[in-house]
Symmetry: C2
Subunit: 337 residues, 2 copies
DNA sequence: CTTGGCACTCGGGAACACAGAGTGCTAGAC
DNA sequence: GTCTAGCACTCTGTGTTCCCGAGTGCCAAG
């Protein structure tokens, strides 16, 4: 049904349309790519491609434009992920090296990705659920208040101020801290609830109300941050592009954590580092935009996802290359720290 | 030069133009506001106002539009800050109550302000410089790494991983922690450098290299965060509005911390809670936009600034009311926690 | 000083024509 | 059978013209 030449025509249409943003006609196409056939032949192929739903024309007697289905075929079979140039690789390294903490890593990453792709970049903070406890700290603020600080192996720090039911001396706090750390150090966050379940019973009676208060806040912290924070950058890149959906809708979606989360999608469990590409209407949450995303994190332990969001008419090979490269680099950085 | 009626005309022009977004003519103006004079009289006044530079006409034979100077006069002398409705006040309270930590307070505040004003809201994190040290924590991660956690009275937490020059036992770390806290607890952040200056000399010789490493990181932390983090929300509200400057420029400015910082401006030292209004070209960093900002923080201790950014054509009384109200509420919240 | 009248100006929309790009179709060439 | 060339057709986008109306500035009268 679709012979090699027709596929070549489709590829040429996608490439031309992406670079020019104008419907591409048979004549220009036959000229620019040396297809060695006449425009008339190209027209016949185009008619076939349109019949199959890979391209469409905005109006009668205008050039052709790829459909979502056309982009899909292009991404799946007609293109290769384009690796970054040496200069770009160097830029990534110099940009990411020197990040002082997790916040900084994420901020730098999202900006880097936005700049590299000239799209909107989205980065999810490493999730707590797969992290482990590195340390639990109780800091006395006054005799009835302590600050709980939870430090994970990803460098993430969560803190909460806790109002205690009674005045507690610093030495007792120190003891509780030791007990907590003995119990939790190095354990996965998801196992924390069961690990602390019987903790009050193993303590002197007098400590139980205080510990119970602390534990309830600790558990709450884990639950609240279960779906993780997401940041974006490069909104300015939306200014030029045009979406079938309104610019306003896109901006609103970007500020909605929940929508962003869904846009990034799930990491496939078998091949976590695979690139996910959702094109236009394939994306149920924000149609008219495409998302290129992937998981990142050290080694097999995929922590979170990052990606970019842009118009359906985007340079997929380049974008995919950038997303993949950035994901790898930031994974390295995280593993090292 | 400008009698009362001319001022009334200017006020009417600003109000009409803000609500309709169309140049306002003499006839409609004489009708809608009961000025009790004829359109011809209004025209004479308009001519005078234009002569003085308060209004201008986009083209010959179009209505008049306020200039930056006109808005300035309106804000300074012709309008009163509009207090929020009871419903809005309740909305603020329910929205801000329940914030779990400083991050949460800031995030909620910026969203609230964006929603309330239908503009872009900008909130600066409370600055460290005027804060005081509540606690310094050293958490051993391994025998050659510790995490430094700095907690301030504003609830802010800074953390850094420190590579030690030699292996150090936990008990020694604990001792250093005690020394640090004894030295710094409750002190202003700006005084930290001098307070720790002679600290190594007061310690046993063997501890000095380690302490020096820790202190250098501590000082670095203070310096790096000297100019503070800024967040924004409500970019979607830009979609409708039109600026004389391009939408792209505004979005770029929003992602540049430095530019944002300048936009928010300095808190005047004598009246820190005063509203700052910068209109159009008065704003050197992003012309064509207006900024309404104010300081916030508990009591006399102004911590940081917040405000909104929007088109010059904005409803100043309402916006100013919202900014002032939110600043007060968030100050309360911060003081209470 | 205010008002009504009046001529003038200019922007924006409607109607219209036209050039150009692109198409589909058909008949002929390889 | 597949490709090619030619041709008539169909659009969109642009430029032109025209006209309406809102709004103005000015002037003379109240």
């Amino acid at each position: 049904m679709l012979d090699d030449r027709k596929l070549a025509v489709l590829r040429a249409i996608v490439e031309d349309y992406v670079s020019t943003n104008e419907p591409v006609g048979s004549k220009a196409l036959a000229e620019r790519h040396n297809l060695k056939v006449s425009p008339a032949t190209v027209r016949n192929d185009m008619a076939a491609l349109e019949e199959e739903g890979y391209i469409t024309q905005p109006h009668t007697s205008a050039g052709r434009v790829p459909t979502d289905k056309g982009y899909r075929l292009f991404v799946d079979r007609l293109s290769q992920v384009k690796p970054l140039s040496a200069a770009e690789r160097r830029a990534i390294e110099t940009f990411l090296v020197g990040a002082v903490d997790l916040d900084d890593v994420v901020t730098r990453t999202v900006r880097l990705l936005a700049q590299l792709t000239r799209q909107v970049a989205v980065v999810q903070y490493p999730t707590l659920t797969r992290s482990t406890v590195r340390h639990v700290e109780l800091v006395p603020l006054s005799d009835r208040r302590v600050m709980l600080v939870l430090i994970t192996n990803t460098g993430r720090v969560e803190q909460r101020v806790i109002e205690l039911p009674e005045a507690v001396e610093d030495t007792r706090i120190a003891h509780m801290r030791a007990v907590l750390n003995a119990c939790l150090d190095g354990c996965g966050l998801s196992t924390v609830p069961e690990l602390v379940a019987d903790l009050p019973e193993r303590l002197p009676l007098e400590d139980r109300p205080v510990v119970a208060t602390i534990l309830s806040v600790l558990l709450e912290t884990l639950v609240e941050r279960h779906d993780e924070k997401i940041v974006f950058a490069g909104a300015a890149n939306l200014a030029g592009a045009d979406f079938s959906v309104g610019l306003r809708d896109v901006l609103e979606a970007l500020e909605e954590q929940v929508v962003l989360m869904r846009l990034l999608g799930e990491t496939s469990t078998d091949t976590p580092s695979a690139l996910t590409v959702r094109i236009g209407s394939e994306n149920p949450y924000l149609r008219g935009t495409s998302v290129v995303a992937t998981g990142y994190g050290s080694g097999d332990n995929q922590l979170a996802r990052l990606g970019v969001l842009g118009p359906t008419r985007m340079d997929y090979p380049v974008t995919m290359g950038a997303v993949r490269a950035v994901a790898r680099y930031v994974s390295q950085i995280l593993a090292a720290s």
